[in-house]
Point group: C2
């Protein structure tokens, strides 16, 4: 009989954890919700919501407002809000031509953020970490935020999730760089550091609170110099065995074509990367964002060469996207980074290629849209990554935090 | 207080269902297990396993053997087995050049099966359904199986999972064929009919009990005339919005290449399909499996032309697989159907292309292996699909069945 009671207790604890997580996730993604809305969102009963919200109030994660009449029949329903200062994370981004840092609270509120442009270069991981430290100091100076529970890092390279090693980042010249370890040491942070690919994290952010918030099967594609991809399958990020998944820029679309930075030939990146766009329009291959902006101004002004280069880009974008539509049957394709800025120029070409090349059934179900979060999508995704342990198990993080007050900050 | 008790009851029921499912799935995939092994597999306590197994015995789904000494310290542990006759499913397959039917019990045991070759042709869905009915009669004649709980159908086309409409099946000439509806009517079956793509189901079967049983990130690729694909991401089948996902044969690998049956140009299928292999070796494009077998005999005999065609096939297989490795970071690539039979001929070429073209980090983690289940993989996957409701919720299916004895059979 004792065994049965213990077991019942264990089972209930498992369910309680899942239910607390469901409530915190709903509030995190949607903002304040009435108890009635939480009932509708979670499928839990009214009494369960009352009890669980009570638990979350006791943990200091949520607050309840006064009951508000909703203009609908029945009792007024109290509004439940996350305390966005109850836990914060540090989000960092290492892009090709900029570094960024932000302090983000529960609920995704950005309390402070900064970004510095830098020449697209091949700085060592140590130099980049030193630059990031300055940004962290800047972004935290003069602030009194809630307890820090994690650090998320978006990096323009493919990353082993388990330890934050950047396996390869051709656009910044890194190979097997132990970024997670270096950052942990440099920050002296007694909280976990999570490193991931920037496009994977942008996809996560767009799925949580951006262009893809209503879709569970999503392809995000972005890129400045190169091409990045992040994929959501059935509501969950596609990671693969080690977190390397999503590298759509290295699908072979033209095996007799140009050499790719990755060592292969004719990867999609060689046709839709920045270099191909610029060269076809008569710009230097390494002209960067300024050259792309100039090219777009030329196109608006009617330049045949600029327009032909954009047409060519749209053609190759459509070819590759048609293949991804066939493989993933996605609801949404979100164009981020440079592709987001180009979307209005290449939209019709992309749609025509999808009509011509994708299988009719999945093609009919997909839409192509530009990013809603813009340039900050990877940084916001890094924050989401660092918040994930709390979202998955609200009690454990709060418990761990309060058990060790030293975790409330870092040097 | 009443609310709390009701809620506690609901929570416990949710967990009980999940736990029953975990036990039945473990037995279904692995065969008989001792109670101790079930403890290790499920993470549940010994007392929970005892109670839950008791429930499953009461439902008639499992039996317990006498306690057997295991040669290890501690009490002997009783062996728990599924009653493979407690529930059976009917599995059907519509391939390009054959039809098949099987009666499969819980645990995946095949009680009876039959396959008939047929000319690769463009029979109407009604004609195919009529032929399937004859196979069903044949496979059931003289048998006294347990209650039928579902029908699974593997078809060589892309399928809307929700209603079993075959959106397009170019290799048998179907378009928007309501196969699920027709089969339900023709079979007069009071059990659900589940239709899905044959490669998706082959991937499911290889993941459950075949070459990919130990891997959670898997790409299965097969094909006779065309090319089929089925993908497992994080342990779950990649379906996409409507179930159309996995069509890797229609990735664009050569956009200046040949016209594809799907209407696009240069799909992977145009380079690795049967026709390309045969034509390059001097065989008629529609020579079918006999011609492929003759080509392989020629290659074994030293024919330069046959060997060059296989080399070419391996080259293009490797190119596309490199792209899939970059996108999915899979643990395993399983070659089924014709690719399984060809594996030993093209293995070295594929591996060399992966070395040359895939990103180093995901490439290092992937292996390419031939199918373990062979030609019957789609049929076994169809059985798995039909068994899924019982595996997910053992109580519900048993309850529904016993509430309506008429469901024990069909005309």
């Amino acid at each position: 009989v004792t065994g049965r009671l213990v077991e019942l207790g264990q089972r209930s604890e498992t369910v309680r954890r899942a239910n607390l997580s469901a409530i915190v996730r709903a509030l995190h993604v949607s903002g304040p919700l009435s108890r009635s809305e939480l009932v509708a969102r979670t499928g839990l009963t009214r009494s369960a919501i009352r009890d669980l919200v009570g638990d979350l109030v006791a943990m200091g994660l949520v607050t309840e407002g006064a009951a508000a009449a909703l203009g609908t029949p029945g009792r007024p329903s109290r509004v439940v809000s996350l305390d966005t200062h109850a836990a914060v994370v540090l989000a960092l981004e290492i892009a090709v031509d900029s570094l960024a840092a932000a302090i983000v609270g529960l609920g995704g509120e950005v309390f402070a953020s900064t970004r510095v442009e830098r020449p697209a270069g091949h700085d060592s991981p140590d130099a980049v970490v030193a630059d990031l430290l300055r940004l962290v100091t800047e972004v935290r100076t003069g602030r009194e935020d809630g307890p820090l529970i994690g650090i998320g890092v978006a990096v323009v390279g493919i990353v082993r999730r388990s330890d934050g090693v950047v396996s390869t980042a051709p656009n910044i010249g890194w190979r097997d760089a132990p970024l997670g370890e270096r950052l942990t040491a440099a920050l002296g942070a007694p909280v976990p550091v999570f490193v991931a690919n920037e496009a994977d994290l942008a996809a996560l952010a767009e799925h949580r609170r951006g262009a893809a918030a209503a879709a569970d099967d999503v392809i995000f594609i972005s890129g400045e110099v190169g091409v990045g991809g992040g994929i959501i399958v059935g509501g969950a990020p596609l990671l693969g065995v080690a977190g390397y998944g999503g590298e759509v820029g290295h699908l072979p679309v033209n095996p007799e074509g140009r050499a790719c930075r990755c060592g292969s030939i004719g990867c999609w990146e060689t046709e839709i990367g920045e270099e191909a766009l610029l060269v076809a329009a008569g710009y230097p291959p390494d002209g960067g964002r300024e050259a792309v902006d100039a090219l777009l101004r030329e196109a608006i002004g009617g330049s045949v060469r600029a327009r032909a280069s954009l047409e060519r880009l749209g053609h190759w974008l459509g070819i590759g996207l048609a293949g991804l539509v066939n493989v993933f049957n996605p609801r949404l394709i979100v164009l981020g980074g440079r592709f987001g800025r180009l979307h209005s120029f290449v939209r019709r070409t992309i749609e025509a290629e999808l009509d011509a090349r994708a299988l009719a059934a999945p093609r009919a179900l997909v839409s192509v849209v530009p990013t809603a979060l813009g340039e900050d999508a990877p940084l916001l995704g890094a924050a989401e990554l660092a918040l994930e342990p709390l979202l998955a198990d609200p009690g454990s993080v709060v418990g761990a935090r309060s058990a060790d007050p030293a975790q409330a900050g870092f040097r």
